[in-house]
């Protein structure tokens, strides 16, 4: 007789050990890392020209714009950047050459917060892939309750406003209401390139521009979409908690 518990037991322990251990290859497909030029020679001009969202300059890569389309891979770049690519400032998402992004000097917004954080998700104009990656944090593979990261259905119980999608005109007012409803101290996390730079929708009619024009953003998580491990990294940063360096 099949049973739920039997099913669960046969599946064994699925849960990730990240961030205690580095993320595994299964948790970090190519798209979990921003592209970087190979060697120290900077970004080739052909790659700069090939990038559809102008994420590349000869001097480096803007992780906040990169939609992971892979076009620059034919021109000397590879997905070799850090899995822990989140940052506390927009500037820190811009890498110079193959050096890592500047370390963020800003203090984590919820540093005094004790152990757990409650997260309220707001979709301001996403393609839904970001929403689903956030939902995936609850699946047995990631189970972020083990890290003290909880999702709440009410902004009044939240510490973190997690924003996915590109801010649209129609979502400005609902977004501001949600922000106001969260008690202080609170942190705003922009997940995915949509709220960071507009991503592939930058400049479209009806799109407001970066989230940081609307709200003060405390943590930026690049990716299109960020993978669950990228999201864990960014949420731990918002909570002022330690993360491993590097990754597998």
């Amino acid at each position: 007789m099949p049973s739920w518990l039997g099913q669960a037991a046969r599946r064994g322990l699925l849960t990730s050990r990240y961030p205690v251990a580095p993320a595994t290859p299964a948790e970090t497909p190519e798209s979990a890392r921003p592209p970087r030029p190979s060697g120290n020679s900077g970004v080739p001009v052909a790659a700069v020209d090939a990038c559809p969202v102008r994420a590349l300059e000869p001097s480096g890569v803007d992780d906040g714009k990169c939609i992971r389309c892979s076009r620059c891979l034919a021109h000397g770049l590879g997905y070799s950047g850090p899995v822990e690519a989140s940052a506390a400032t927009r500037d820190a998402l811009v890498s110079r050459g193959s050096a890592p992004p500047l370390p963020a000097a800003k203090r984590a917004p919820l540093a005094d917060f004790g152990r757990s954080v409650h997260v309220f998700l707001v979709d301001v104009g996403s393609c839904n892939a970001c929403n689903l990656e956030v939902l995936a944090l609850a699946n047995p593979f990631y189970d972020t309750t083990r890290l003290g990261i909880f999702f709440t259905n009410s902004p009044r119980h939240a510490d973190v406003l997690l924003v996915v999608g590109v801010p649209t005109e129609e979502m400005r007012a609902p977004l501001l209401r949600a922000f106001e409803a969260i008690p202080s101290p609170k942190a705003v996390v922009a997940a995915g390139v949509c709220p960071i730079s507009g991503g592939v929708f930058a400049g479209n009619a009806g799109v407001l521009g970066p989230l940081s024009d609307v709200l003060p953003v405390d943590v930026f998580i690049p990716g299109c979409p960020p993978t669950p491990v990228n999201l864990i990294d960014g949420l731990l940063r918002a909570a002022g908690r330690s993360r491993p360096r590097g990754g597998a």
């Binding site: 497909p29 892979s70 104009g125 609902p174 799109v207 299109c224």
Partner: protein, 440 residues
């Protein structure tokens, strides 16, 4: 080249109370696509929809008057003593996407529900004009990321038809591979959402885990969990050599067994079945009258699936059986989805076992592109998806689309009339809606 998947009509076929049902209508009235469910054929009429068909087309093509918000279901205001409108959304508990539902009620029963879309309108289609086909594809992948394979396949097929390009069969096989994986993901996700609404927590965790494994397989084959960038010609990260193919086949066999076991447990679970049985009934007549598609249509007894209605490889060479349900309730829609998960596992097994040698990584030879207009449709997880693309000199001039969400909102709103509030989540999830693709 394959045979045209529709017959061109020489007179307006739209008096459709008895006749064919509108499937797509261009905004400018230059063409209308019909499905004739009696004969199983699609009909293309080079003119505007008339009669009731024009109401459906107008609903799908509706734009917001002030701003971008617009009702996407029928709206016949119900009045009466103590009746008030309760707006639910755009940020609402339990619906992880932004959209609003205006509920007319006197307290418990839903007298009328009007889904209102447009909160996530990112102006995608208008912004495609002037872009090259490959650049436009990047945005099409992100119309609805969890439906990227269907959207990209339909969009590229429309472009290829517009430009008169021949597509190598291997590319069509790659698209089918991606679409069937994504169908499994989306159907399993629907089952997970319903398990969540029914507080079936152990089942939810197991189903959620299965969905995660599909995303990991997609990442292993395409370098990206949502297969973004994976369907363009010569995709850089596609890994479909014999080794990956065998590994994928083994993983799929394991996941198919897991799904069988899970699904048996769900069907045995009263908390699961009771909440969706007789919930939000869309009978055959309602489904046809309001132009419903996909599992919604098939759950009401109409056996239409684009994979079988269009002679497009590889589906022409594969065995596919359609599930048969006719009660039209949320349970029927979920059962259809579960049967389709099985069918997709079977399709993938056939695809992978007949797959010889390397597929993909091909550098596209660019044939001279002729200007023109192309229409294409694919069976997305929630139903028929239509793209209408005009291309000139390799540049997009116009894009129209009608997604399964557009087609199914009216049936949802009609089916939920007279229901109670606690039906809402079960009803909503059973249709597999996406506000992202509705808004564009």
């Amino acid at each position: 080249m394959t045979a045209a998947p529709w017959t061109v009509a020489d007179r307006d076929p739209s008096p459709w109370e008895t006749g064919p049902v509108a499937a797509y209508g261009a905004r400018d009235g230059t063409l209308t696509l019909y499905n004739d469910y009696a004969s199983g054929r699609a009909i293309l009429w080079p003119g505007p929809a008339a009669g009731r068909a024009s109401e459906l087309v107008a609903l799908w093509n509706r734009r917001g008057n002030a701003g971008r918000l617009r009702p996407v279901g029928p709206s016949e205001p119900v009045e009466g003593y103590g009746v008030f409108t309760f707006p639910y959304g755009p940020i609402s508990m339990g619906v992880p996407e932004s959209g609003r539902f205006d509920v007319r009620t006197y307290g418990e029963r839903i007298l009328e529900i009007t889904p209102t879309a447009g909160f996530k309108d990112r102006g995608i289609l208008a912004a495609l004009v002037g872009r090259s086909v490959p650049d436009a594809t990047l945005a099409i992948e992100r119309v609805a990321g969890h439906l990227s394979a269907a959207h990209v396949s339909a969009f590229l097929a429309a472009c290829e038809s517009a430009e008169g390009r021949d597509v190598p069969t291997t590319e069509l096989w790659v698209r089918a591979l991606a679409q069937e994986l994504q169908r499994i993901y989306n159907h399993v996700h629907v089952i997970a959402r319903i398990a969540e609404a029914a507080s079936q927590n152990v089942g939810l965790a197991q189903t959620h885990a299965l969905a995660e494994e599909v995303l990991r397989l997609q990442a292993a084959l395409f370098g990206h969990r949502w297969m973004f960038g994976g369907l363009v010609d010569g995709a850089a990260l596609r890994k479909l050599g014999p080794r990956e193919r065998d590994a994928a086949a083994a993983t799929l066999r394991r996941l198919a067994d897991q799904f069988e076991e899970l699904w048996t447990l769900f069907l045995d679970s009263r908390t699961f079945v009771d909440r969706i049985q007789a919930t939000c009934v869309v009978d055959r007549e309602t489904a046809l009258r309001w132009g419903a598609v996909g599992p919604t249509l098939r759950a009401s007894g109409v056996p239409w699936d684009d994979r079988l209605r269009q002679a497009v490889p590889p589906y022409t060479d594969l065995y596919l059986e359609l599930p048969k349900e006719s009660d039209g309730d949320a349970l029927s829609r979920v059962v259809v989805r579960a049967e389709e998960v099985r069918a997709s596992f079977l399709l993938l097994e056939q695809l992978l076992s007949r797959w010889k040698g390397e597929i993909g990584g091909r550098e596209p030879a660019a044939p001279p592109a002729a200007p023109g207009r192309g229409l294409a449709r694919v069976e997305a997880p929630s139903g028929d998806l239509v793209y209408d693309v005009t291309v000139r000199d390799g540049t997009i001039r116009h894009v129209g689309m009608r997604t399964p969400s557009h087609a199914n909102w009216p049936a949802f709103a009609v089916g939920l009339k007279g229901g109670v509030f606690t039906d809402f989540h079960f009803a909503y999830e059973s249709f597999g809606f996406s506000f992202a693709e509705t808004d564009g």
